[in-house]
């Protein structure tokens, strides 16, 4: 068919320039010596002025990591990573801990301005009421600034980099770190435990509803550098927080590793809403370069009636390996996973969720929308597990895939395990193609091809987009459009 050929040609014609965040910031960095051994870990720990227990924790993780094997069950393929050919720490050489925005290197501020991330509180305050967002900006291995801290502290909320939390709030970090994702959880999580450099720490006190969106913006800049961030969010009894993370990186021919760990803890009646807009550099049209995104994200609904909701829009990365999960421990707790994963070019996505029902009357809801174009492969992998004692557990999964063109693939791998005969577990899955008829129908009404594709795709992902905070939903919608540019002839 002619349409097939055109699609192929168009995909070939995708210019890497369409990745709008591929620039590099010229800034002097301090790097750890290349490679990984116990000295590297001591170097990182010393850089961060960490307490002794933290260093021991890291070294223990490192020793365990040495005995582990890189997992190979995901439906992704890539050349073996040389873990000795990476830098595990890179930080801009500036004043060690800027106390205010005025002390932050202007070059960094310009970078975030270029990325459209509001760091200037005044500028944000001057903007529309309700769009106020506190940002923790992480650049390579360090957090460069966290905004709105004073205002948040009035409510008793702690929002800072995890390095700072280790120094300032060691009791909280010690109490929760590694309790959701254990040190030995998996290869990348263990590696992260050994070498993690920065990330965000959030603590919402009992009964407090966080008055603004919290967000962390991750940027990888330095060459040959891995980013290993660690985020820990704790919502005490009856509290609420909505948190958003965004990620970008410069375009490079090499593959860069990003292995993050995110842990969420929701106590009784608490709710955490965690949204991700992931737009790491996906590689060029021939599949050169791009980020390897191997991430472990897990939330623990520790208290009764707690709720954790993951929403993710994944458009970037050469390889995505990511399964934000919920452990539904508290009775009547709820876990949600809303995902849009878009792949184009040579991207490979293996993503999904795990919902582990332990408590009584726990419920989970999974809505996954995969969109594949170009020569990409997009896999949904999800597990719903119901414990023997989880009476009244309910789970619903809806998993839809949309194919654009003829050289891409969509795969659905659901694992359902129920040890409780009274649990109600449902799974729905569909795979569809943007049909030539749908496309022609839109175009014949005057919509240019790109707009027609964007319209159809946005219709397809609508129920997930609705879960994102409004401002981000608009951004995400645009991002999806851009990611699919040139996907149809």
């Amino acid at each position: 068919m002619a349409a097939v050929k055109e699609t192929v040609d168009q995909v070939r014609a995708i210019d890497v320039d369409q990745y709008k965040y591929g620039f590099e910031t010229e800034i002097e960095s301090e790097l750890a010596p290349k490679g990984l051994d116990e000295d590297t870990i001591r170097f990182i720990s010393a850089k961060k002025n960490e307490p002794e227990w933290m260093l021991d924790w890291r070294l223990d993780a490192y020793r365990r990591w040495l005995t582990m094997e890189e997992p190979s069950w995901a439906r992704v393929s890539y050349p073996k990573i040389d873990f000795q050919d990476l830098y595990y720490y890179a930080a801009p050489k500036t004043t060690p801990a800027p106390k205010s925005l005025d002390e932050v290197d202007p070059e960094l501020l310009r970078t975030y301005e270029k990325l459209g991330i509001p760091l200037k509180e005044q500028a944000v305050l001057a903007g529309v009421e309700g769009a106020k967002i506190a940002v923790d900006a992480v650049f390579d291995s360090v957090s460069v600034v966290t905004t709105f801290r004073e205002e948040l502290s009035k409510h008793g909320i702690i929002f800072c980099s995890i390095s700072e939390a280790m120094r300032e709030h060691p009791e909280l970090v010690k109490k929760y770190l590694g309790t959701v994702v254990p040190v030995t959880d998996n290869y990348y999580a263990t590696l992260n435990s050994a070498v993690f450099s920065d990330g965000s720490f959030v603590w919402i006190p009992e009964g407090v509803r966080c008055p603004m969106e919290l967000s962390t913006y991750f940027r990888i800049n330095e060459k040959k550098t891995g980013q290993f961030e660690r985020t820990l969010i704790i919502a005490e009894k009856g509290s609420y927080v909505s948190y958003l993370e965004g990620c970008t990186a410069p375009q490079r021919d090499e593959n860069q590793l990003h292995a993050a760990v995110v842990e969420l803890v929701a106590m009784e009646d608490a709710e955490i809403k965690y949204s991700t807009v992931q737009n790491w550099y996906p590689g060029d049209k021939d599949g050169r370069g791009g980020i390897y995104n191997f991430v472990t994200k897990r939330g623990d609904c520790r208290g009764a009636r707690s709720k954790i909701s993951w929403t993710q829009v994944e458009t970037g990365s050469a390889i995505t390996w990511k399964y934000p999960s919920c452990i539904l421990r508290g009775d009547d707790s709820k876990g949600e996973f809303y995902s849009i994963a878009v792949s184009n070019g040579h991207q490979q996505v293996d993503s999904g969720t795990k919902m582990i029902h332990l408590g009584k009357n726990t419920s989970s809801r999974i809505i996954s929308k995969g969109i594949s174009a170009g020569k990409s492969q997009n896999t949904y992998r999800g597990q719903v597990k119901v414990n023997r004692k989880a009476d009244g557990a309910r789970s619903f999964t809806n998993c839809d895939s949309l194919l654009i063109g003829h050289d891409c693939g969509a795969h659905t791998v659901p694992y359902l395990e129920s040890a409780n005969p009274r649990a109600k577990v449902e799974h729905e899955a569909t795979t569809s193609k943007i049909s030539d008829d749908q496309l022609f129908y839109c175009i014949s009404r005057g919509l240019p091809t790109e707009e027609a594709v964007a319209l159809i795709v946005n219709g397809f992902v609508r129920d997930v987009l609705q879960q994102l905070p409004m401002e981000f939903a608009v951004e995400a919608q645009k991002l999806i459009g851009v990611s699919l540019e040139g996907s149809v002839g």
Partner: protein, 251 residues
């Protein structure tokens, strides 16, 4: 308005020629019916005019107000004033009917160098036109054609036509799948759009649609060519005698 000369078109995949030197002239303000047996090339004609991929024009021309439309991409043809009411309107899940209409209208306006329509103006326009076609608020909010009955889909096509205000409306077997009540509503919608600066090409198998949409001229299409042209009485003659005579004539 529409001027088709010696149009030859084949199916791209297998090179089968479907239109074999078709001539047709439709003046502004006129309604032309095109009738003919299965396989005569009726739907192909509508697809080729609207620019559906999969066909190759090998000879001839088609102009709208003197402008060659065959060189334009389908979106541009739409902006220029070509509208095809589909025989089988397509469902687009998740895209609200209103959203779709507004996006289409604004794309066409943009292509013509006009500004976007304001939301209140658009709402007013849709409310008025939807009312005439007995299209409910619910239908306007639902995703495009999803879960619509056959009649609702066809009414929705006419609504699009009323909003987009094309110069040339091609109706491809709009009567198929309609019961008599739906046929009436659709026909009234079409009749309301008849105007001195708009032309209609109505493709149909049956006389019954033409009882409601009165054509000025009736053509018989067979084997890719117009083989007979007459007044409305020609449709009645066809209904009584069938196509056999004409098919032979063309052979």
């Amino acid at each position: 308005m529409l001027e088709i000369k010696n149009l030859h078109a084949e199916i791209e995949a297998d090179g089968r020629e479907i239109l074999r030197g078709l001539d047709l002239t439709v003046k502004a303000g006129e309604v032309h019916a095109i009738m003919g047996p299965n396989g005569a090339g009726k739907s192909t004609l509508s697809h080729v005019l609207a620019g559906k991929p999969g066909y190759k024009v090998t000879d001839g021309s088609a102009t709208l107000d003197g402008v060659d439309i065959l060189d334009m991409d389908p979106a541009m043809r739409a902006a220029t004033g070509v509208f095809l009411a589909f025989q089988y309107p397509v469902e687009i899940p998740g895209v609200g009917n209103m959203t779709f209409l507004k996006a289409a209208l604004n794309s066409q306006r943009k292509a013509r160098g006009e500004g976007e329509i304001s939301t209140p103006d658009f709402m007013r326009l849709v409310r008025t036109e939807a009312g005439k076609l007995k299209i409910t608020q619910d239908m306007l909010k639902r995703p495009v054609n999803v879960g619509f009955s056959g009649g609702e889909k066809k009414r929705n096509e006419i609504l699009q036509m009323a909003i987009l205000q094309p110069k040339l409306c091609i109706l491809d077997e709009t009567d198929s799948g309609l019961d008599i009540d739906a046929l009436k509503v659709v026909s009234e919608g079409v009749n309301a759009l008849r105007s001195p600066d708009r032309a209609f090409v109505v493709i149909t198998h049956y006389q019954r649609l033409l009882d409601h949409i009165r054509p000025d001229v009736v053509h018989v299409l067979s084997k890719g060519r117009i083989v007979k042209t007459g007044g409305p009485e020609l449709a009645l003659e066809l209904e009584a005698k069938g196509y056999a005579d004409f098919v032979d004539e063309a052979a």
